[in-house]
């Protein structure tokens, strides 16, 4: 079985290589080593039997001991229809490791940096989010440094009566990866903290945080949970079942992956140094302003459609090439708002002092506006707050209320007849969420791994236009399906 976009990965730490790596870390115990040994036993494959998981990601290297230790597992797994990906980490003879992977029948390897020339198996680029790249030979691209989603340590689910709490999410890095590699399936890697006793909902959120952004988490279980699964302890089985139910939900709703994020604002960047940090932070902060948005990779911007956009934030310090600049200015001249960094050369149009924004100086360009940032290194929050102020809430496509520790993602189908709003609750607390939608959709329902069946939602028309939808409490994840 070859690696494909349908591969559903799970991290499978096992064997002497993981034990050796673990021994270098603080808190590694004999019990953990025993777990790693037991997971190299083919019997451990029973854990994933009957689940959608069809791809196990094992630690791999040129070290023969690891290869030999995993051989029975790999052979048994392949007979059971599983594919294996070898994760090559650190320095070492990568070419030899890749060759050994080919010889062992692995479907692919994943590694940081560039693939060795003439690799005999697909190589999944496995890089930090700031260095995401795609490989022609792999249908998958990886983001190695995801975060386990949820509320940061010490945060409150409400964040106080007068503010929203911060949440840890991979939304920004996954949207960036998808913008940079739109024809690839994005995998993201992150592990539970060692020793963390995570509730089932934490694992469900980890699946949903990635799945809602069109990506796949390389499922990674905490050592204690893995030990308990092999010991067939019921609480562990229940936790794993809930995780699998969420994975299954996304497999049953594959069409969601084809929907594209929608919004009135687009961010254009190369999403690489020296622009990456600003871009990631701005994209992290957009959800706090409850503003749906889309991302456009700079390299693809000249060919991208700007239809439906009200504003474009060209974020990069490097000026666009002539063709893209022309296209951006045409967008502004046609009535759009173009927001650019302070070093934008020779800003077009006369100043528009009647529009006093804190961070952007506005200029009149045709029927639209050009906003030039006043600061060389603006604060990311101030930037997105000013952008929100400039574009106005008057034409908001979606708003969400009463979901303080939740993020939402608005996406539409290619034809625009269907739309979805993914709702992710990072605290597992809260009540019914309330959504405002501007478009006159005919029907709405919410589906969720938490609900036995879809729940129809009623539109409450608003005096000033649009309608509101009350969504029953979602503990972790649900998606509102809207249809015209």
């Amino acid at each position: 079985m070859a690696l494909s976009a349908e591969s559903i990965p799970m991290r499978w730490p096992a064997g002497p290589l993981d034990i050796a790596l673990g021994e270098k870390t603080k808190g590694f115990t004999a019990d953990t080593a025993a777990v790693l040994r037991s997971w190299q036993d083919p019997a451990s494959l029973a854990v994933v039997q009957g689940t959608p998981i069809n791809c196990l990601v094992v630690s791999w290297s040129a070290d023969a001991a690891q290869q030999q230790a995993l051989k029975p597992l790999i052979e048994a797994g392949k007979k059971a229809g599983l594919e294996f990906v070898g994760l090559i980490q650190g320095e070492g003879d990568k070419a030899a490791a890749v060759a050994a992977a080919q010889a062992a029948g692995l479907a692919a390897v994943a590694m940081e940096g560039d693939a060795p020339a003439n690799a005999g198996v697909p190589v999944i680029p496995w890089n930090k989010a700031s260095q995401v790249r795609s490989s022609a030979k792999s249908p998958v691209t990886g983001v190695a440094d995801g975060v386990f989603p949820g509320l940061p340590q010490g945060a409150t689910p409400q964040g106080g009566p007068t503010n929203l709490p911060w949440v840890d999410s991979n939304g920004a890095i996954l949207q960036i990866a998808r913008a940079l590699a739109p024809d690839k399936t994005v995998w993201v890697g992150f592990d539970p903290a060692p020793g963390a006793k995570l509730a089932a909902e934490a694992y469900e959120l980890a699946v949903a945080d990635s799945g809602s952004h069109g990506a796949r988490w390389v499922i990674s279980l905490e050592d204690g949970l893995r030990a308990d699964l092999l010991a067939k302890k019921q609480p562990a089985a229940d936790t794993f079942k809930k995780l699998i139910d969420t994975v299954t939900f996304f497999e049953q709703h594959k069409e969601l992956r084809t929907y594209q994020p929608n919004g009135l604002v687009a961010v254009i960047s190369n999403f690489a140094a020296p622009n990456y940090d600003s871009a990631e932070e701005a994209i992290n902060l957009m959800p706090r302003l409850r503003q749906p948005f889309r991302l456009i990779a700079r390299a693809r911007a000249a060919a991208a459609s700007f239809a439906g956009l009200q504003a474009i934030y060209y974020l990069d310090k490097e000026a666009p090439d002539a063709a893209l600049r022309k296209k951006l200015l045409a967008f502004a001249s046609g009535g759009g708002t173009l927001l650019v960094p302070s070093n934008w050369p020779n800003p077009e149009g006369p100043p528009a002092p009647a529009e006093p924004y804190l961070l952007f100086s506005m200029r009149k360009v045709g029927k639209g506006r050009l906003g030039v940032c006043k600061e060389e290194k603006p604060d990311a929050y101030d930037t997105v707050a000013d952008i929100q102020n400039i574009i106005s809430h008057g034409k908001d496509l979606v708003r969400v209320y009463n979901a303080p520790s939740s993020n939402f993602l608005y996406a539409t189908s290619a034809q625009g007849k269907q739309a979805v709003i993914h709702l992710l609750n990072y605290s597992r607390r809260g009540g019914d969420a309330l959504f405002y939608v501007k478009e006159p959709y005919k029907s709405a329902r919410v589906v969720s791994p938490e609900l036995a069946s879809a729940a129809e939602l009623q539109f409450a028309p608003q005096e000033a236009g649009g309608a509101e939808l009350t969504v029953p409490r979602i503990s972790v994840y649900g998606v509102i399906e809207l249809e015209n």
Binding site: T162, N389, Y401, L434
Partner: protein, 398 residues
Amino acid sequence: MRQDMTRRQLLVGAGTGVGALLARPAWSRAVTVPTGKVAVARCKTYGPELVTTLNTMFDQLGGLGGLVKGKTVTMKVNFIGVRWARLGNALMEETFWTHPKMIGGMVHLLGKAGAKRIRVVEGPWSTSESLEEVMLSMNWKPQEILSAADNVEFENTNYLGRGKKYSRFKVPGGGIIYPGYDLNHCYEDCDVFISNAKLKEHSATGVTLSMKNIYGTTPITIYGQDAGVDEPSIRPHGGRGNVFHFATRLPSKSAPQQLDMSMPKEAGFRLPRIISELNTARPAHLAIIDGIMTATGSETAGRGMAVKPGVLIAGTNTVATDAVGMTVMGFDPLTEKGKAPFARCDSTLAFGEQLGVGIRDLKKNEILGVNPADVVFSFAAIREKMGPPPGGGRRGGA
């Protein structure tokens, strides 16, 4: 300030001689602690009856014309808290915020009474967005307010806004906690100042009425959690809790500083004093409380329920008006700390009285229109059933 002073000593000490120094509204005729006129009316909806009722109430108070004709008016409304947190699916204006019809109705009446310029102001939570934007995000129609009279404008007073510099308001008598406050220019560049509040309870101050509404005049750039250390920040970030509720940080050094850092760092102690100081430093000429629709239990979404007391209160003095407001809510305005709604905080009204803002005893004020006792909507009874709100100090907003 010595820590071993009793509360009474503190009050008396702080209040000595303050009354005579107060800068009072132009139409107040009292010499020391002023009494007030307060009009009360039934008003069940925000429909056409609203403007008619308000008009009658202002006639009862002596007419708006004498106060605002040819004048610049600043009207502080109340948009408390995170706007994305509603009480169920109830609208913000039906629970915690001054209703747009109330704002529009007031603007209309002020314009009709001859106001030269009308500024609607507020410092909504942690944002530099214009008030139009805040209203649009609530699906309001700000244009209806802007067109309700000539020369109407909005200003977000969380920061410098359209001003060139902040305005210094000194607390007459020197203050208890702060000797003065730096505020957005709108609060100085006006002839008439109006507090247009909502009839609500408050987790840190018991009730939040026209006096507490003035707390929200303080700019986040100076008094917010991310305010500048030396000078005001350019942009407003965060809430006022760190500076005002708990004194875990200082305001920007450019502003008047706390008189004595050894004072208790509890919101229930600090806020009533700070609010009263603000009411003496920037007194309101007119106080209006929107009690047509509101919420019980708290000042923002949380516990509580949307209710329709169907009452409007307007007065010439914030203490007197709030005393009537408390009466309508089923509370005794003479209540001191230890009893609802001031179970865990001092009475803001008591401090207002001590600092010479006004008198909370209804018998000493002139009550017009409907008898407050006839329109009581007992928040107290609902509170009794629900139990006290959380805190006594851990929460709070404007």
